[in-house]
Symmetry: C2
Subunit: 401 residues, 2 copies
């Protein structure tokens, strides 16, 4: 007896049979006496198809109108899911983002949830209605529909779960949990029973697509117990929660992030604010920089390297060159295309100084060149050539599992 939030992604709702299979999981929790709120994504690749449609009309539509367009996808899913639950004989009501009280920031296409007004949700729960909420969408202060960015339905679900103090937020997806590495190319990858928010966060931001990282952050902040599990099986999944009661693993997972470019700026003159200015110029153009490495000063100059997405490459190079020209810098930019970032994540890594050495040894043994590397308390990142990516994950995985 409690409140359970469930969330289904697009592949879990791609056809009628899948919608019914999800509806039955909803009812299973409901008939045990729980209140159930279901958050749904758009079916299959509908969001992509709608975006394609918009590009046919206008290659540079305003993000406001794109949000109006694509939010129709979750609206359709919400209605169909409610219809399936109705046909199985249970009381249900669907709510769109604005009806579910999901208030968010005004960044069209990538809003964050600022508040959830639970008036309507609570009213429907009091009536013992199952509630289907259209995920990925909310309403901003102008009264406009805004979407929460890709993976935003996770955020909707975990946001609702946290605001209503749900007992658990079950994220149904097409994999049956969080693995130590991608089972598609790491044969002996192991499913984890539990993982901490910080580990999950490191995995999510490092390319594990199982859970949206912003959603994990909200979960962590409000201690929402999250379960990642498959909509295609009945097996338990992976529980994400506070790590206090877990045995801390040295390494919990290894992820790979492809299609990145490594940019290095060598011999940049050391004025106090040059790096800062460069990075703020890049971020003002929405270029996501990651894995920043900045060497210590040598002869009044220093080397900086970072990774960006391949698609940002030409913009990024242009910005850097214009910037360097602006003060007649003698620095040189070196671009390494198509690299892969391998992240090794583990909550207890900090207490085990041998991790970095083991990773380096594994890659050396496999004859894989490391272009750059960095480490934080719970993560070691190495950048390698894209062709070596899968082999590098396997080599590191073999050392720890």
């Amino acid at each position: 007896m409690g409140l359970i939030v469930q969330k289904y992604g697009g592949t879990s709702l791609a056809n009628d049979d899948l919608i019914f299979s999800a509806a039955k999981k909803v009812i299973n929790d409901y008939i045990k006496g729980n209140n159930v709120i279901v958050v749904v994504s758009a079916q299959g690749n509908l969001t992509d198809r709608l975006i394609y449609k918009s590009k046919e009309i206008n290659k540079s539509s305003s993000k406001r109108e794109i949000d109006v367009l694509i939010s129709a996808g979750e609206q359709i899913s919400a209605a169909l899911m409610a219809m399936a639950i109705e046909s199985l004989g249970y009381p249900v009501v669907s709510l769109l983002g604005w009806q579910a009280g999901i208030k968010c920031s005004s960044v069209y296409g990538n809003a964050t949830i600022s508040k959830i007004d639970t008036t309507r949700l609570q009213k429907e729960l009091d009536k013992k209605n199952i509630i289907v909420v259209a995920g990925f969408q909310g309403i901003n202060k102008y009264g406009d529909v805004t979407t929460l960015g890709r993976g935003g339905s996770d955020t909707s679900a975990i946001g609702i779960a946290s605001t209503l103090n749900a007992d658990i937020c079950k994220i149904y997806t097409d994999v049956d949990g969080v693995y130590t590495a991608d089972p598609h190319y790491v044969k002996n990858a192991v499913k984890l029973d539990q993982i901490s928010y910080d580990e999950m966060l490191s995995l999510a931001t490092s390319g594990a697509k199982v859970l949206n990282n912003r959603a994990v952050e909200i979960g962590k902040k409000h201690s929402v117990v999250i379960e990642v599990l498959s909509s295609f099986s009945e097996k338990p999944g992976t529980i994400v929660k506070e790590s206090s009661n877990m045995e801390k693993r040295i390494v919990s997972g290894i992820t790979k992030n492809d299609n990145l470019t490594l940019i290095s700026v060598f011999d940049l003159e050391d004025e106090t604010d040059l790096n800062f200015k460069l990075f703020s110029k890049l971020s003002s153009k929405n270029i996501d920089i990651d894995s920043v490495l900045q060497n210590t000063l040598k002869n009044g100059k220093r080397d900086i390297s970072f990774t960006i997405k391949n698609e940002d490459r030409s913009d990024c190079i242009k910005i850097i060159e214009n910037y360097l020209k602006s003060f007649d810098s003698s620095a040189k930019t070196v671009v390494k295309e198509n690299i892969t970032k391998i992240s090794t994540v583990g909550a207890a890594m900090a207490g085990h100084p041998g991790v970095l050495a083991k990773i380096f040894e594994a890659l050396y043994t496999s004859q894989i060149d490391i272009f750059s590397s960095s480490s934080s308390e719970i993560k070691v990142t190495v950048v390698v050539d894209k062709k070596d990516g899968e082999e590098a994950v396997r080599a590191i995985h073999d050392v720890f599992f």
Copy 2:
């Protein structure tokens, strides 16, 4: 310089080219210094496809959820139209029914507009934005999305035009105006330049599909000048407005309504409330009865006949027979399937008593049997066999045009 409301139906928005063609008509009015509000329907047959989708999941979905589902169709159109106008370089904003302040009754699937709160519309007009409104939808007192029934986008458009005192409401469709008869089978049918609300109303309720009858009623009540015109040409259409300044035509149009069943109840005992009870039983099951004829009393009994839609036939017969059984009536029910109702409409008909005779003569000359007939101030209705329908319209049309 004024306010123009335009409305585009689904066939006028079925593909990208058509959306752009409509967008250009919008901009044409805008660049002349007018404010422009565009109301859009769902593209092509999208509404039907969504309803088909819902039937796959649940044959008897609640109307509330069907409304959530199908209102996504107009949402998609509104966004795409806004994108097209954006790409042509004009300021535009799309609004869904609830954003445009369209408050309506709670009859899901067939709501009526109760009020339009113009706050948001006025705000966008003040900014000189073109406004695209998703037609066919509003919000009820529970904060739920409700649709206005088929043809409801006409109602949205004329409702907005009347509330904001628009100078004209242009209904763009796939015909270029209102004709004296359907040009598909009446070769010499003539397009009318003007028509009165009452005539239009009689034509609309009698099967002319060019304009929704509820929309015409709103137009009449608030004296909104309506123009019915083609989205595929630049020609002027038919103006619908108060008839005071028009020469009253004896006959303005002849319409045909197919797929009806004629039900006759012969020798019904004359208790004061029997007819009333029968009709209220039928209407409580949402069976639409029309063209009711009730003969005068003969030997304490009377005959009643009326038409219903073919699809309501078996329900209707069951209700009548149960009703007759309930008081051991000796009345007999006679069912005539697949009949056609021909309506001849004209504002000045009342002053010209020869109209009925002319119609009867035309049908007699063409050897068409009349099953029943009735007349009101501006309309004569005759019921004939479906196979004679088109010939009957041609015969009557030839007499008056």
